[in-house]
């Protein structure tokens, strides 16, 4: 992190200021939808930031990270359903449940490598998915609604959309700060060294397994908090939030934004959710002059555009969006 006024740093600063001022813009224009969309972006960015800690910095290709969204969310929803409304109880328990799940999954999966690691993390997430589908008392496949959002003894009213947005934004910033400190600390050096060359790390005297496991649990816990936010945001949880394609979305955010970079996952979440939101409209608008009847239908196939776009990023911009900004920055400096 250099403090210089590079294009990359300017974009990051603009992003943070923009996110901070968004409610002001919304209150002027009255565009409530934008606030809802950005709350979602901020929450999922936090999930992506947590995944980036193990995927980007630790080289652990976890394909089950959405499970923690579900576990955090379900913990809040189930407690609310059973009459425990206090966020002071709900949120710590959501974190604890996610941490415990991560500990079990990590303890087993981190003994394997490569494809096996991916498959085990995926398998555990799918188990969580089917478990949630099977909980008849809590809605099964249909999911479970929240009668009220987490209560913080009158200190915070999460039902106020602006308040809730700021809570999410502050927690996102806190998780970025945490990941930053983690990755430059001794612990982070071990994590990054392990990604780069694990055999060598063991040869110079590091018991790498326990450090990877610690990273895995920290990431899972952070994502569990994002899950608690999702439940409060949508007032609803369902097994679908743990489905493997959701884990895939999180990976796409990290890769699209830039693996192993501090703000990459935020860019990635922003880009993916914006595309998801506006590509269908855009495609419909393009198709409409040629085929008015099929325009809306065409918009449903927005992923046909998203796919090649991702491919281009992977092929030509290895560092994702952050990598592109970095390239601009270094060009400016040299040119």
């Amino acid at each position: 992190m250099s403090g210089a006024l590079t294009p990359r740093n300017v974009v990051i600063a603009a992003l943070l200021v923009g996110l901070a001022l968004l409610p002001l813009y919304v209150s002027i224009t009255g565009d409530r939808f934008l606030l809802t969309l950005f709350t979602r972006i901020v929450i999922l960015a936090m999930a992506a930031v947590s995944l980036n800690l193990i995927l980007g910095y630790g080289g652990m290709m976890s394909f089950g990270h959405a499970a923690y969204l579900g576990i955090g969310g379900y913990t809040v929803a189930i407690l609310a359903f059973e009459g425990v409304q206090s966020g002071f109880v709900q949120w710590p328990l959501a974190l604890a449940a996610s941490a415990l799940f991560a500990l079990v999954v990590g303890a087993l999966s981190l003994r394997t490598r490569g494809v096996y690691f991916i498959m085990i993390t995926l398998a555990f997430a799918q188990m969580a998915y089917y478990l949630a589908s099977g909980m008849a008392r809590y809605g099964g496949d249909d999911g479970l609604g929240l009668d009220s959002r987490s209560q913080f003894a009158g200190l915070l009213n999460l039902s106020n959309k602006t308040t809730f947005y700021y809570v999410c934004l502050i927690l996102l910033c806190a998780s970025i700060l945490l990941v930053w400190r983690l990755t430059i600390s001794r612990f982070g050096m071990v994590l990054r060294g392990t990604r780069s060359n694990e055999t060598r790390m063991r040869a110079i005297g590091f018991p790498t397994y326990r450090y990877k496991l610690a990273g895995f649990v920290i990431a899972g816990t952070m994502c569990g908090l994002a899950g608690a936010l999702v439940a409060n945001h949508t007032d609803f949880v369902s097994p679908a939030m743990m489905y493997w394609t959701r884990s895939g979305d999180l990976i796409v955010m990290v890769v699209l934004g830039g693996m192993g970079t501090l703000f990459g996952p935020v860019f990635g979440a922003l880009a993916l959710l914006f595309l998801e939101q506006f590509l269908p409209t855009l495609i419909s608008a393009v198709v409409r002059p040629f085929n008015p009847a099929g325009a809306v239908k065409a918009g449903e196939y927005w992923q046909i555009v998203l796919g090649p776009l991702l491919l281009l990023v992977v092929l030509f911009a290895r560092g994702g969006i952050d990598g592109l900004l970095r390239m601009l920055s270094s060009r400016e400096r040299h040119g």
Partner: protein, 252 residues
């Protein structure tokens, strides 16, 4: 020799049809520079890998400083003072030379469950790392990314990392592999200085270097020790000449 720092007894390892180590017994006393030579495929790297814990032997026993380490994992051996450098350079290329060595220092500075403080700002890690780099003659390259260093410098960096943990014994796997004559000569000078302080097991193809440095030499052929002794004895040994040295001279 009960007072040997490293004691190897009847070490055997088989890979399919190949007997890579065949009842190897060796005792290396504290302070010795012991060279292991042998033709390609003699099982030299396999031997080092068993000593460092990367490969588990089929049978036999390894003890270090009087402690049986045969079943210990790699990181415990390293923490116990047995450091290894790699034949195929295996550094962390995406970070600086100093970062590489600082990691090695950190490995020996207690646990790394420290989550907040900037590790690159810790003098406790940086100073010994810088000292180890100076020692191997890489002081001026400290802030270069490891990927930008030359091959010879990579070998020096490997050595600095092995030294950073203040080991009692170094396992050096072909530290001069791929080096030019100048670089080799510098490495020999450095190793000569190092052997005053640390016990070394050296695997090396460069015979000139081996005979210049070693206190004792062991010759390995097809996983078996065919001779072990002072350089003069090895040079005079007929069996060794047949199996190895003669062949080398014929080639060169």
């Amino acid at each position: 020799m009960a007072d040997a720092l490293l004691q190897i007894e009847n070490l055997s390892k088989r890979f399919g049809g190949i007997q890579a180590s065949d009842r190897i017994s060796l005792a290396i006393p504290d302070g010795e520079l012991h060279a292991v030579i042998g033709p390609n495929g003699a099982g030299k790297t396999t031997l080092v890998s068993q000593l460092s814990g990367q490969i588990a032997p089929d049978s036999g026993r390894i003890s270090f400083a009087g402690v049986d380490i045969t079943g210990l994992p790699m990181h415990r051996r390293s923490a116990g003072g047995l450091a290894r450098s790699f034949q195929i350079t295996s550094l962390f290329l995406d970070i600086s030379a100093l970062d590489n060595v600082a990691l090695a220092v950190q490995a020996h500075a207690g646990h790394s469950f420290r989550f907040w403080r900037d590790a690159r700002g810790e003098a406790e890690l940086r100073q010994p790392a810088r000292a180890a780099l100076e020692r191997v003659g890489l002081g001026a390259r400290a802030d270069w990314p490891a990927s930008a260093l030359s091959h010879g410098e990579h070998r020096q960096l490997e050595l600095a990392m092995a030294l950073a943990g203040r080991p009692r014994m170094l396992l050096l796997d072909e530290p001069m592999a791929g080096m030019g004559p100048d670089e080799s000569a510098r490495m020999v000078t450095m190793l000569r200085a190092l052997k005053q302080e640390v016990t070394i097991l050296l695997i090396e193809h460069d015979m000139e270097a081996v005979f210049a440095l070693a206190d004792r030499i062991t010759v390995l052929v097809y996983g078996r020790v065919i001779a072990s002794g002072a350089p003069a004895e090895i040079r005079a040994n007929a069996q060794v000449r047949d199996a190895y040295l003669g062949e080398q001279e014929a080639v060169s």
